[in-house]
Amino acid sequence: MRNMFVLLCAALFTVGVIATPAKAAWPDRPIRIIVPFNPGAGTDQQGRLVEKEFKETFGQPLNFVYKPGADGAIGATELANSRPDGYTIGLYAFPLMVMGPLLGKGKYGPESFDYLGISCKDVAVLVVPKDSPIKSFEDFVTQAKANPGKLRVGVVEILGPTHITALRLQQQGVPMNIVPHAGGSKAMVAVLGGHIDALLAVTGASLNSASKLNFLAVASDEPEALLPGVPTFKEKGFDIVSAFARVWLAPKGLPADVKQRLGEGLKSIYAREDVKERHDKAGLPVRFEDGTVLNQWIDAFMPEARGLVDLYNQQKAQQ
């Protein structure tokens, strides 16, 4: 009996020694990456597009953990509550990450995260099928004004960049019937099949179907390089800039050196020519920005975000 006890203690001790992490340099094991959407969705692609390079740069692979639900708020909450040790990071999109808590969906705030970098900007675009009678942005406005509230315009997430663009257009005097869709691909089918008159999409989701579409306007500051000849809303007299910024983030409180290495590593990955080329083909052109930029964006956007929620509630009440 006594022997057994000694043996057990020895066994436990051995297990303990093996299990105790040696104080090695980060990262010495795979890194969990929380994707708050379904596999295959745009956010998943954001990670998958650089999965190979991530392993080359940091020496450890990414373990993809999908936590879909509530437009990403479920996964973001999980990320916010994870240990900030550099072994759990995540992906999400601005401005959705700001809107979630405002709409009562997530138990986190923009201050719950350390921002590592912005990989891409997915800009909102207004598209119609090639054979549509609407040929230009002017046609679109004329049609909308001629039949107030009748022109069917598809959008994707509630208070995502496409919906925000639609609300802003309406606010600036273009009345339309805003039709939300569950996912970009279903919305694309609806516009190609003529079930809606026009669609507000993001570049990433629409460039794969580019040969079947006419692009009428793009909600960026400057004309998009990927969409030559397409005017911006600003050029047409509508002050609308709206995009998904695809973000790499981690729970607040990362060790400073880990945070720095992650930020610099991501920067070097996105600076590679082959990575850029791959992103262009996927319709998600690289627009790398440092994570710190996002803090400024969020601060600047907060008042606007509250205004948008109010605007949306007003419009719903009118219906």
């Binding site: 795979p30 969990r32 379904n38 596999p39 295959g40 969705a41 998943d44 692609q45 998958r48 597009l49 999965e51 190979k52 692979p61 373990n63 993809f64 953990v65 999908y66 936590k67 879909p68 639900g69 509530a70 437009d71 708020a73 479920i74 909450t77 999980e78 709409l103 009562g104 969906k105 509230g149 009748k150 022109l151 509630i158 208070l159 019937n177 805003i178 039709v179 939300p180 869709h181 569950a182 691909s185 279903k186 694309m188 089918v189 609806a190 190609l192 099949g193 079930h195 809606i196 460039l207 794969n208 179907s209 040969s211 079947k212 791959r278 083909k281 996927a282 319709g283 719903k316 219906q319």
Partner: protein
């Protein structure tokens, strides 16, 4: 053009028949089939799991591998559905309806081979259709607006009326219960919380696959505890089963197999519909147009053949929108698209134009994968039949723990594990009240499609003079409405006709039903429905429409069922035996205790404890074997091996980050 097509064909042929391609495709098929069988691993997970392995491959090879996983996973679910009545994937729900009765009748090998042959044939037809008609198929799919999807899903729901003979009301009640389950979480129109009662975990809603696993796998295991048999089903080798399956498919039912494959491919091509909808609708149609519809459900090979061919044919269909429009037609196709993008290829019309070698190489490899699946699937099916040689006391804990970790792995959520256990227990209790899990499952699968398209159509209708323009008078709406009415009325009318005068004879009112268990279950459902109806009335806008209708229907159907009970034969006996119920309760609470331990002790250790406890309890109380050292050692060894296998599958291969707790 002709010559370039020919050279494309020849080069693709050379590619497909190279040893590397063959090897990779066989691996892909095995991964897919096993993934499809295991509850909780979906087609999507199986493909996503395989993507990293394809990074170092050339694009054509990578696509061939992913295509093989896709085909295998769509078929694999059938094995579990047939052998233990636990559809591994939503596409196999309909397969279980006749496949499992075949196993009970000692025809397991025949059912398995029929499913395999039908899957290969359906997949082959689907892939050939993708090759030959992808342009027309794509433009046809574009005609389906939200109003058509809405009515198509309603048409799918009419299957309920024919699902269980003589109990139409209870089938319908089960179906609307499933619809009701799908309304919990964020509502799809405004994206705000609905029926979550402040519980954060409810925000994500119930995962469809978790509910499937609990409705079928978990509750089925509890049901298996009741019978005194040592094995799940009596099994004897069936000489000539393969030949008989061949005959079923290619001699007796070649027209039916062809139609279900072609229609399956078409439904698969509608974005958002997918293999499960195809399988359910076609199973129902095959039953309706059969000379003798009652034989379906009792274990006929046609009931396996039709849904399996439709399910696998949908693979070819789902790739149509991806290759022609750049739009993934299903979640699995979306993951496949991710694999393409990682290779630096953008799917869509431009892929066909700029890289026809890759696009056509992919389609040819898909056609070939379905042929290759025949020998691979044959070997695996032979292996799988062995489960019938294992005493059920070992099978039951194995399936229960597999369901636990499978549900966890879907969204890495402990809440889903709890949902699995509780919903499994509830669905067992409902099953005892003759409300079939298959009916609830149908509601769960179709609910989100119905609501999403209902809301979308309601909003689009603002632009018309009257909402009826879209809902009734558009050609596709009208077609599906007529089909749905026929589908609802026909089975009832047929029954009346057959029963003749007997049915019309009024039975005396009897209060015997008040002493029956199922009466009070339905009464409880009526009360619950009323509560949720009241809750729905507090919602605003479009998010209230669907729940109000659904819970209104729950109340109405439950009350109608209650009324009809008063006229039923008083002789019906209770289906409970106290001893069986006690056993079921013990297993249920063991599972619940395991859930409580998962976080504290660790996932795999607590599953080990769970299996050991279940086996020992089963040996002692159900088999009445005296417990001695050798029994004990055997139970521990079996549990250890089982959990080791589960760890290898989920921990090492799928890399599920399970909670580790104190031990492991």
């Amino acid at each position: 053009m002709e010559s370039s097509m020919l050279s494309l064909f020849l080069s693709s042929l050379g590619f497909v028949f190279s040893p590397t391609t063959l090897l990779i495709m066989v691996i892909g098929l095995v991964v897919g089939i096993i993934g499809g069988m295991v509850p909780g691993i979906t087609t999507v997970t199986a493909i996503a799991l395989f993507i990293p392995f394809t990074f170092s491959m050339a694009p054509t090879l990578a696509l061939a591998a992913l295509g093989a996983v896709y085909c295998g996973a769509m078929y694999g679910g059938a094995n579990a559905a047939i052998l233990i009545n636990t559809p591994g994937a939503p596409g196999s729900i309909a397969t279980a309806l006749d496949g499992y009765p075949m196993t009970r009748n000692g025809r397991a090998p025949e059912a398995l081979f029929t499913a395999l042959l039908a899957s290969c044939f359906g997949g082959f037809v689907g892939a050939v259709m993708l090759l030959a008609f992808f342009e027309p198929l794509a433009s046809l799919a574009l005609h389906f607006g939200s109003e058509a999807f809405f009515w198509m899903a309603i048409f799918g729901l009419t299957t309920l009326a024919a699902m269980s003979q003589g109990m139409v009301l209870k089938s319908l009640l089960g179906g609307v219960l499933g619809l009701g389950l799908s309304t919990i979480g964020l509502d799809p129109s405004d994206g705000i919380p609905r029926f979550t009662f402040g519980i954060f975990d409810l925000l994500q809603g119930f995962d469809m696959i978790v509910l499937m696993t609990s409705l079928f796998s978990f509750s089925q295991m509890l049901l298996l505890l009741e019978s005194p048999d040592e094995y799940i089903a009596k099994y004897r080798p069936q000489p000539g089963a393969f030949l008989r399956s061949l005959k079923t498919l290619f001699v007796r039912n070649k027209l039916l197999a062809g139609i279900s494959s072609v229609a399956g491919a078409f439904i698969g091509g509608l974005p958002g519909a997918g293999g499960s909808v195809a399988a359910i609708i076609l199973y129902n149609e095959a039953k309706r147009w059969d000379k003798n519809p009652e034989r379906y459900g009792s274990g006929v090979p046609e009931g396996v053949m039709v849904p399996e061919s439709a399910n696998n044919a949908s693979v070819g269909g789902a790739l149509v929108p991806l290759l022609s429009l750049g739009i993934p037609g299903s979640a699995a196709a979306a993951v496949l698209m991710g694999g393409l993008l990682a290779q630096g290829l953008a799917p869509g019309p431009q892929l066909m134009e700029t890289h026809p070698d890759i696009a056509y190489g992919f389609i040819y490899s898909l056609i070939f994968a379905n042929i290759l699946m025949l020998p691979v699937g044959y070997v695996l099916a032979r292996v799988c039949t062995k489960i019938l040689d294992v005493p059920k006391l070992y099978v039951i804990p194995a399936i229960i723990t597999l369901s636990l970790i499978g549900s966890y792995s879907l969204r890495n959520s402990m809440f889903d594990v709890l949902v699995l256990i509780v919903a499994g227990g509830v669905s067992y209790l409902l099953l005892k009240a003759k409300i079939q899990p298959a009916c609830i499952a149908l509601g769960v699968v179709l609910g989100p499609i119905v609501e999403e398209n209902l809301n979308n159509t309601l909003i689009r209708a603002h632009s018309d003079a009257s909402p009826l323009d879209l809902f009734v008078f558009s050609p596709l709406s009208a077609t599906f409405i007529i089909l749905s009415i026929v589908a609802l009325v026909l089975p009832v009318a047929m029954q009346r006709l057959k029963k003749g005068k007997e049915a019309r004879m009024a039975r005396p009112v009897s209060t015997a039903c008040l002493y029956r268990y199922d009466f009070w279950v339905v009464a409880l459902l009526a009360a619950g429905g009323a509560f949720f109806l009241w809750q729905s009335s507090l919602l605003t806008g479009n998010s209230a429409v669907f729940p109000e209708v659904v819970f209104g229907l729950v109340v109405v159907l439950a009350i109608l069922t209650l009324c009809s009970e008063f006229f039923s034969e008083p002789a019906r006996q209770s289906t409970f035996s106290p001893a069986a119920l006690a056993n079921v309760a013990v297993y249920f609470f063991l599972a619940l205790a395991t859930y409580a331990l998962l976080d504290i002790v660790g996932f795999y250790s607590s599953m080990f404890l769970c299996v050991t406890a279940m086996i020992l309890f089963g040996l002692r109380r159900i088999r009445r074997v005296p417990l001695n050292i050798s029994n004990l050692a055997k139970a521990v060894a079996v549990s250890g091996l089982l959990v080791l296998a589960e760890w290898l599958c989920f921990g090492v291969l799928v890399k599920v980050p399970a909670p580790e707790g104190l031990l492991f």
